[in-house]
C-alpha cells in the first residue's frame, strides 16, 4: 500500500505539471490546436484528483491497518487508538496534512474542470492557476514532506496520536478549516484568470459567488469547531485565546467577509473592481499564511504539534503569488476602472466601504499583534509577548462598530438615502435598542456596571475604566447594538412581507416565506447577520465569567456562582490507551440537586504519560458550569477541582449554527417568479375568420 501511495503521489505530480504547462500553452494559443491541448490539460487535471485520492486512501489504509512500517503512521498512531482517530491521522501531522491540502485542492479543481462549459476560456485559465498551486503542494508532498517514508526498523506499536487531538471535533475541525482555506483558491483563481484575460463584465463574480460562500462557510464552521475543541479540551475555561494559529484562521475569514460584502458593489454598481480583485488575492495569500503559521511554528502556539521547517517553502510560494498578482494587476489595471461613482456618503455603497475599512482594520490589528513578537525579535533581539488583553482592547471596539454598521447598512438605499427614509427606517430599531439598553440597566444595574451599588460605583469610577469594568460596559453595548440589528432585520422582513401580503392576498408568514424565496441571497444574508448578533451576545457573556479552584476531599464543597459542588467519589481507571483519575461531583443550584458531573484527567500511555483534561460541562441556555479535574495535591493526595460559571456560552454555538443555516439559505437559488399567461393579441379580421368575437361584443 505505501508503494502504491508513493507511486500515486508521483503520478499526480506528473499529471498536474502536464495540466499546468500544457494548460499555459493552450491558453496562449487561440486556435484549434490550443483547444485540443486545453482539453488534454483539463483531463490530466481531473485525473490528478483520482491519483491524489488514491494516495490519500493508501495512507488512511496504512493507518487503519496499523502499518507501522510507514514512518508517518508510526509517529501519529498506535494500535489502541480508536478507529475515527486513526482515520484522522491523515491530517494530524505535517506530511499528511500537506497531502490533505493537495487532495482538497485537486477535488475543488476536479469540480471546476467538470463544469468547464460555464465559460471555457475563463475556466481553462483558472484551471492552470489552480494547477500551479497544486504543483507546489505535490512537490512538497513528494520531496519535502513525504507521508510514505519508510521506517528503517520494525516497531511493534506506534508513538500515538497527540493527546490534544483525541477529541471528536478533531476528526472534523481540520477538514472543515482546510476546505475553507483551500476553497478560497477557487475565487482567487477566477479573479486572477479574469484579470489575465481582461475579462469583461462581472461574470467571474457570478461564477465564484457560490464558491466563495462555500469556502467562507467552511472557514466559519472550521473556526467554530476549533473554538469548541479548545473549550472542551484545553481546560482553561474559554473558547478563544487569541492564539497565533487561531488568529491565522481568522485572517482569511475577515477578508473573505469583506469580499462577500464589497463584491455586491461591483455587481450592482460596477464599483470597487480593483479593491475586490485585491481583496480576494489577499484572502488567498492569508490562507497560505495561515497554513504557514500552523505548519512552520513561526510563533509559539497551542498548535505546536504541527511545527516544522517548511516555512521557507511557504514564504517562497507567498512571494511568487504576490509577484504574479502584482504583475498582472499592473499590466491590466486599466481594465478595472469603476463604471459608477459614489453619489452620497449616506448610501448602501458607503456602508459597505466603511464595513470593509473596519474589517480590514481588524484584520491588520490582529495580524500586526500576531506577528509583532517576530518583529520585536528582529528589531530588539527578544520576543515581546502580545496576549489576549491587547487583542481585546483593539478588536472589541472595532467589532462593536461593525455591529452598528450591520444594523445601519441594510436600511440605507443604493446611491443615496433621503432624510425622510432614514427617519422612517431607523425610528423603530433605534427605539427598540434604547428600550433594551434601559431595561438592562434598570433591572440589573450592578451587574452591568460591575459593582454592587450606585454610590459604590461612583467611588470606583476610575477602576471602572480598567479592563474588567470596561468589559461589562462593552457587554451592555453589545446587547443594545444587537437589539438594534435584530429590529432592523425584523423590520426588513416585515416591510417586504407586508408588500407581498397585499399582492398575493395571503397571510404575513407565507408572504415572508415567498419574500425569502424570491431573494435567497439577501434574506439568507439577514439570517447570517442574525447569527452574528446571537454569537456576539454569547461572547458578551464573557464579561460575567466566574471561577474558583480548591482541593476537594470526599464530602468537601466548592461554591461558584449559584452552584455548590460536593465531592462524592474519586475513581481510577486503566485501559490500553490511557489511565485516568476522575471525580464524581454532585451539583446543587440554590440548594437544589441538579446533576452529577464527572471531570477526568487522563494519562496516555503511548505518549509517554502525557496528561489531558476531560472537562465536564453542564450547559444551559443561560450559562455553562464547566468543571476540570486539575490533578492531585502531591502532599495529601486530595484532588484539585476547578469550576467556572460561563454565562451565555451556548449562544455562541447557536449563533454559529444560525450563521451556517443563513449561509445555506443564501446558497439556494431563488424561486422562479410565476408569470400569468397573457393572451396573444389577434387581429379582428383573423378572429372573424375563425368565427370568434371580440371581448364584450354582443353585450
Amino acid at each position: 500500500m505505501p508503494l502504491l501511495g508513493s507511486f500515486c503521489l508521483k503520478f499526480a505530480l506528473a499529471l498536474t505539471v502536464y495540466c499546468f504547462a500544457v494548460g499555459i500553452v493552450a491558453v496562449a494559443r487561440k486556435d484549434r490546436i490550443g483547444n485540443v491541448l486545453g482539453e488534454t490539460a483539463r483531463r490530466a487535471g481531473m485525473a490528478s484528483f483520482a491519483a491524489v485520492f488514491l494516495a490519500a486512501g493508501a495512507l488512511v489504509y496504512a493507518a487503519m491497518t496499523d502499518d507501522f512500517s510507514v514512518a508517518y503512521v508510526m509517529h501519529h498512531s498506535n494500535r489502541a487508538l480508536p478507529g475515527p482517530y486513526k482515520f484522522a491521522v491523515l491530517w494530524s501531522g505535517q506530511e499528511g496534512s500537506i497531502l490533505f491540502w493537495a487532495l482538497l485542492l485537486s477535488g475543488y479543481g476536479f469540480v471546476l474542470r467538470l463544469r468547464h462549459k460555464i465559460d471555457q476560456r475563463l475556466v481553462a485559465t483558472a484551471s492552470v492557476i489552480l494547477a500551479g498551486v497544486q504543483v507546489f503542494f505535490l512537490i512538497l508532498a513528494n520531496f519535502v514532506a513525504n507521508p510514505f517514508g519508510m521506517m528503517d526498523r520494525v516497531v511493534a506499536d506506534g508513538a500515538g496520536l497527540n493527546i490534544l487531538l483525541q477529541y471528536p471535533e478533531m476528526v472534523i475541525h481540520p477538514p472543515m478549516l482546510y476546505l475553507g482555506y483551500v476553497g478560497v483558491s477557487v475565487p482567487f483563481a477566477f479573479a486572477l484568470a479574469a484579470l489575465i484575460n481582461r475579462y469583461p463584465g462581472e461574470k467571474w463574480i457570478h461564477i465564484t459567488r457560490r464558491w466563495t460562500m462555500v469556502a467562507w462557510l467552511f472557514l466559519t464552521f472550521g473556526i467554530s469547531l476549533g473554538a469548541h475543541w479548545a473549550y472542551g479540551v484545553l481546560g482553561w475555561g474559554g473558547y478563544w485565546g487569541w492564539d497565533p494559529v487561531e488568529n491565522a484562521s481568522f485572517f482569511p475569514w475577515i477578508t473573505g467577509t469583506a469580499f462577500l460584502h464589497s463584491v455586491m458593489m461591483q455587481e450592482k454598481r460596477g464599483m470597487m473592481k480593483v479593491w475586490n480583485v485585491w481583496l480576494i488575492f489577499i484572502t488567498f495569500m492569508l490562507s497560505i499564511l495561515g497554513t504557514l503559521l500552523t505548519r512552520a511554528g513561526l510563533v509559539s502556539s497551542v498548535h505546536a504539534f504541527a511545527q516544522s521547517s517548511i516555512g521557507p517553502w511557504f514564504t517562497t510560494l507567498l512571494g511568487i503569488i504576490f509577484a504574479v498578482c502584482l504583475f498582472f494587476y499592473i499590466k491590466n489595471r486599466d481594465h478595472l476602472r469603476s463604471e459608477n461613482r459614489l453619489e452620497s456618503l449616506v448610501s448602501r455603497e458607503s456602508s459597505f466601504l466603511f464595513n470593509n475599512l473596519l474589517l480590514l482594520a481588524a484584520m491588520f490589528a490582529i495580524l500586526s499583534g500576531t506577528l509583532f513578537p517576530i518583529l520585536s525579535e528582529a528589531v530588539r533581539g527578544y520576543k515581546i509577548t502580545v496576549g489576549a488583553p491587547f487583542f481585546n482592547k483593539i478588536t472589541i471596539p472595532i467589532g462593536l462598530l461593525l455591529l452598528f454598521l450591520t444594523g445601519v447598512g441594510p436600511l440605507l438605499a443604493w446611491r443615496s438615502t433621503s432624510v425622510g427614509s432614514i427617519r422612517r427606517n431607523f425610528t423603530w430599531p433605534a427605539l427598540f435598542a434604547a428600550l433594551v439598553g434601559i431595561v438592562l440597566v434598570a433591572f440589573n444595574l450592578p451587574a452591568w456596571l460591575g459593582v454592587g451599588q450606585f454610590d459604590a460605583w461612583l467611588k470606583l469610577l476610575p477602576a471602572w475604566f480598567a479592563a474588567i469594568e470596561l468589559a461589562k460596559f462593552y457587554s451592555w453595548l453589545a446587547f443594545v447594538l444587537g437589539a438594534m440589528v435584530i429590529a432592523t432585520i425584523a423590520s426588513e422582513f416585515l416591510r417586504g412581507g407586508r408588500v407581498l401580503q397585499g399582492k398575493l392576498n395571503t397571510n404575513i408568514a407565507f408572504a415572508m416565506y415567498h419574500l425569502m424565496r424570491r431573494n435567497m441571497r439577501r434574506y439568507g444574508g439577514y439570517v447570517v447577520h442574525l447569527g452574528v448578533v446571537v454569537l456576539i451576545i454569547g461572547v458578551a457573556g464573557l464579561a460575567f465569567n466566574q471561577d474558583h479552584e480548591q482541593e476537594m476531599a470526599r464530602g468537601d464543597k466548592l461554591a461558584v456562582g449559584h452552584y455548590v459542588l460536593v465531592g462524592q467519589e474519586y475513581t481510577q481507571d486503566d485501559n490500553a490507551n490511557y489511565a485516568s483519575d476522575a471525580a464524581l461531583l454532585d451539583v446543587y443550584k440554590d440548594g437544589k440537586y441538579l446533576v452529577t458531573l464527572n471531570p477526568e484527567l487522563r494519562s496516555y500511555k503511548a505518549n509517554g504519560g502525557q496528561t489531558d483534561h476531560k472537562v465536564a460541562i453542564r450547559s444551559t441556555l443561560l450559562e455553562d458550569l464547566y468543571v476540570i479535574y486539575e490533578g492531585k495535591n502531591p502532599d495529601n493526595g486530595h484532588p484539585i477541582i476547578k469550576a467556572f460559571v460561563n454565562p451565555l456560552v451556548s449562544w455562541v454555538w447557536i449563533g454559529v449554527l444560525t450563521i451556517t443555516f443563513g449561509t445555506g439559505l443564501a446558497l439556494v437559488p431563488n424561486a422562479e417568479r410565476v408569470t400569468a399567461q397573457v393572451p396573444r393579441a389577434v387581429p379582428i379580421a383573423a378572429m372573424d375568420d375563425q368565427g370568434m368575437q371580440p371581448a364584450g361584443a354582443g353585450k
Binding site: 509577548t385 488583553p389 476610575p462
Partner: protein
C-alpha cells in the same frame, strides 16, 4: 448659571475620585497586564491556582512596586527583568513596543483617509463628467428633454 455649575461639578468630582483611587486603579490595571508565571496561563490577579508557588509573591511585588514607583512602565519593566519578558502580556506604551499599539490605529487612520480621498475623487469626477455632458451634443439634449417630457420620468 446653576445648571452650568452642576455640569462642571461632576467632572471635578470624577477627577478628585480618580486621584483618591489612583493606586488601586493602577494595581488593577497592571495586574491585568502581567501573567502568573506558574504556568497556569492566567492573569496575575485572576490566578486562583491551588498551591500556586508564584502568584502570592508576584502580587506582593506588584503592590510594593505600585506604592514605590509612580511610573507604570517601570513596574512592568521590573517584572520583565525579574520574571522574563513573557510575564507581561501586553506591549507597553513606550519605546519600540508603542509601535504595536500605533500600527492598528495608524492602519485605521490611513484607511479612513484613503476612503475620504476616494469619495472626494469620485465626487469631483462625477461633477466634471456632469458638467462636460451639458455641452456635449445639443441634439442629444433636445431628444433627452423630449423623452423626459413625454414619459414624465
Amino acid at each position: 448659571m446653576r445648571r452650568l455649575a452642576k455640569l462642571l461639578l461632576l467632572p471635578c468630582l470624577v477627577v478628585l475620585l480618580m486621584g483618591a483611587d489612583n493606586q488601586e486603579a493602577r494595581y488593577q490595571n497592571l495586574g491585568g497586564k502581567i501573567m502568573c508565571s506558574c504556568g497556569c496561563a492566567q492573569m496575575l490577579l485572576k490566578c486562583n491556582h491551588v498551591g500556586c508557588p508564584n502568584s502570592d509573591r508576584m502580587i506582593r511585588e506588584l503592590r510594593a512596586n505600585v506604592q514605590s514607583t509612580g511610573n507604570d512602565e517601570e513596574v512592568l519593566n521590573w517584572f520583565r527583568r525579574k520574571w522574563g519578558v513573557t510575564a507581561v502580556v501586553e506591549p507597553s506604551t513606550h519605546g519600540f513596543e508603542l509601535v504595536a499599539w500605533i500600527l492598528p490605529v495608524a492602519a485605521l487612520g490611513v484607511g479612513l483617509l484613503l476612503v475620504i480621498l476616494l469619495v472626494r475623487n469620485w465626487k469631483l469626477r462625477t461633477a466634471s463628467v456632469a458638467a462636460a455632458d451639458v455641452n456635449l451634443d445639443p441634439e442629444l439634449e433636445a431628444l433627452r428633454a423630449r423623452a423626459h417630457r413625454e414619459t414624465e420620468i
